[in-house]
Symmetry: D2
Subunit: 277 residues, 4 copies
């Protein structure tokens, strides 16, 4: 029987630990610094499966942890792994994957599991919607929303905005994606040609991991617009210009962990089970 050790992370780890236990697995979770008797060395020795957080790290030195913890140094932890271990984590850095390969350690990145990332778009979309409703003093209903990009996250989000009766325009670089967006009911605009209509939008949801909204475009916006940026940090919006222009804009990272840690943990659990069997 597998024994799971969960290290750091956010509340998804807590839910994941509960789900594993509920399915009969032995689990140990090291999530905050309360248990002073915890020994990383013994814990790694006595567990065959290590569940690293999402993301694996933010500072490139320690595992990411929502709680302050001082024993999550990446170097030390890696040195304790052996070919008997199987590890999972999110957005694992290339050098860690390389280290695992070289040392015969089975290593799975949640972000490489297509069905995990697709299912995660749901929690991201719901979180982005909650953020937009909170941040703006206006309703989404019948508002004009721009969604940049039409990848997995953008599709789920655009459909849910439409489900809330928003009027959604999709901007993308790719003609085929725009035609697809049009075929499921969205208005479309080429990403390179957004400026003329920039002033029309009440909400902008940005999903492309690239700096798209620079000063020029921001100055063309309706000053009452609300921008929700869900692209990876540092996002795709010049927030400094937004501040100067008094435009509401928020970089929203890690939405699944904030808004749907339990559902997210269930998705991770399914991904883990599938890859272990």
């Amino acid at each position: 029987m597998h024994k799971f050790l969960l290290l750091g992370g956010d509340s998804r780890q807590v839910f994941l630990s509960r789900i594993l236990a509920g399915n009969g697995f032995k689990t140990t979770i090291h999530y905050d610094s309360e248990d002073s008797s915890f020994s990383m060395e013994e814990a790694i020795k006595s567990h065959s499966i290590i569940l690293f957080p999402i993301p694996f790290t933010r500072d490139k030195i320690s595992l990411f942890s929502a709680q302050p913890m001082d024993d999550l140094g990446i170097g030390n932890i890696l040195s304790l792994l052996t070919p008997e271990h199987t590890v999972f984590g999110g957005s694992i850095p290339a050098y860690v994957k390389e280290y695992a390969k070289t040392n015969g350690i089975a290593c799975f990145d949640y972000m490489d599991m297509e069905d995990v990332t697709v299912k995660n778009t749901i929690a991201t979309a719901e979180g982005a919607i909650a953020e937009a409703i909170k941040l703006s003093p206006c309703c989404l209903h019948k508002s004009k929303c721009l969604v940049t990009g039409f990848g997995r996250c953008a599709r789920t989000l655009a459909l849910k905005l439409k489900g809330l009766d928003a009027l959604v325009t999709v901007a993308d670089r790719n003609d085929t994606q725009l035609a697809f967006a049009g075929s499921i009911g969205f208005d479309t605009v080429p990403l390179s040609d957004m400026k003329p209509s920039m002033g029309e939008y009440d909400f902008i949801f940005h999903t492309i991991p690239a700096l798209i909204f620079e000063e020029d475009l921001i100055l063309s916006m309706n000053p009452e617009v609300t921008i929700i940026d869900i692209a990876s940090a540092p996002g795709g919006v010049d927030f400094e210009v937004c501040r100067q222009q008094n435009i509401r804009a928020k970089l929203c990272l890690g939405l699944p962990g904030i808004y749907a840690p339990q559902t997210s943990a269930e998705i991770l659990f399914e991904g883990i089970v599938k890859n272990l069997s």
Copy 2:
């Protein structure tokens, strides 16, 4: 030209004041205690239209105000009104309406304006959705949602939940309402027969201003359920039992003022204009 005086209330008053000014009306807003030179007597004398807050009062002594203010006593303010005044407000108490009638003061309650209340259901629905996403660690997507009642608020909310891919069941006392709910795609259950399926729901949205969820029903719920109560205070859920059972439940009042003060103010503005002309 009408001159508007706005007294107390929440940020909807601030937005309403701006909209009136933007449409060329003279407005004075008395929203917090910063302006020490403000004289209620002079203000009421020099303005023909008084916009009271929503709700008119919470404590039955002073006008409702989100900011601490000490010159909003209802008795004093009423005594200053004359037949030259026209007043607007939300949920105005019967005795105030009576006083206005007796004294020849034109008095309009936003809550009696059908189109204002119907449009307000949108902001309420979006706010309820944001609250549900925040409160629950699970997604609305494909969750089982119960909406009690099928009045104006419930309809708008149920349709938006469906737009987010939730599986919505409507509970109502009235067979015709249930048939109507069924014809637009909802599952239905008689309000008096909810107990057998009570354990199935992930979310419960309560819109009926009556105590429906007492101990008996609460004990039949899935312990992981999330309850959002948007019925008027004191709501329709025994929150004490929820606390004992460790069930997530929140009474959410005044959602339009919290989540969409600008859109709400635009709706009030339209209602005011319509009734003045």
Copy 3:
């Protein structure tokens, strides 16, 4: 045990007969003239429940029948009924109801059963959509659709058109209905003020049992428009003017019987059972 006699009508009667039989009831159906040994007198004598068609009659002389039949004279049939009989039918004329009352015959009109009529709107809406797709050489997707009225049929239809990504405008006389329509995402226009926007619509779905579309409005239409009239005969469109103007227009009556006789029969069955018990 009840014995059912079904007389005349369209294929709903055939399906209804099968459903009754499938539920263990004895049924006799007199639907076409094939069985030359059929005696109306004996049939009515030996069955306690008579299921008349929908509508009860079209010519006011005989029961309505999709098949040519010559023994369905209303006068004769009524004279055979006794207080032991219970009768059901759709749109039963007032004088027949009066006759039943006077003679102690229990008489139920499907059209007076709120849940039957509400459920029937679904089949009507689907039929109207199929007719529109067939009649027009254009797509409903992203087309501009006008739905006149916002009663039961109109609501179901408008929501389904929206579900197909049509851009739906609702026209109604009543401000409250328009506010309600707006709150669930439709554009709205007062019925009395349709002319200025008349030229914008690609499809018009008419649900109001009154002559609304006369020459004046028809001449303001886009000549490529497609009109589907689902109001009761003779409908609410001047079809002669449409013909002259070469405008596609079709009066669509009895859509549930044409497009969904089985689902319709199930709904009738539920209505019958509810009223018998």
Copy 4:
């Protein structure tokens, strides 16, 4: 200025000809055999752009034509083309494309234009829905629908069925496609594992160009099911077995030409303009 010659085909050619003329282009259409003075040789000589039908051919001998015509032999027509010609058509056979390339004739296949094919899925979906409503005596509303495949056509169709309140399950070979389908609200089932749930469906929409529904699966179906096959001929259903089992099944080809020739012609026009410029 380009001169367009349209040969054979269905009513899309008639609408396309009108749209071209409406945009100021000279066009000649050879659509039926009424004009006995028509000379193919002169027509091809005097027009630089030839618009072949969709599909290019059905019998591999003559161009496809909905009307009986005897001068559409492919060999003769090809021999009249010169490097001055540009040709368009749908599903052009490989050998014709090869011939064009060898002889310096610019040749565009509509089916290779991604945005044309994506937009065409809309008319296909609406046509499939109309066919389903007509063929089945039941409603789509709340029915259980299976959509096989999750390519372009299937996606558009599945979303529209959901918009009509059908309960849609998507079957596909590919896990990623299934996760995507799940993320936008559909139930999913692996294509290889459909048998256990086969009996649940009221409607089956088949979009995969392969024989999937053979005797074994058909015998597991609900006998009241309605099958709409929109995969390319000969379709993916054993229609002979369906007939024996008395199961409603219809192969529906060329739906855009039947249900939306005008919208389809507009899409072709956009594709032509884009490729000419």
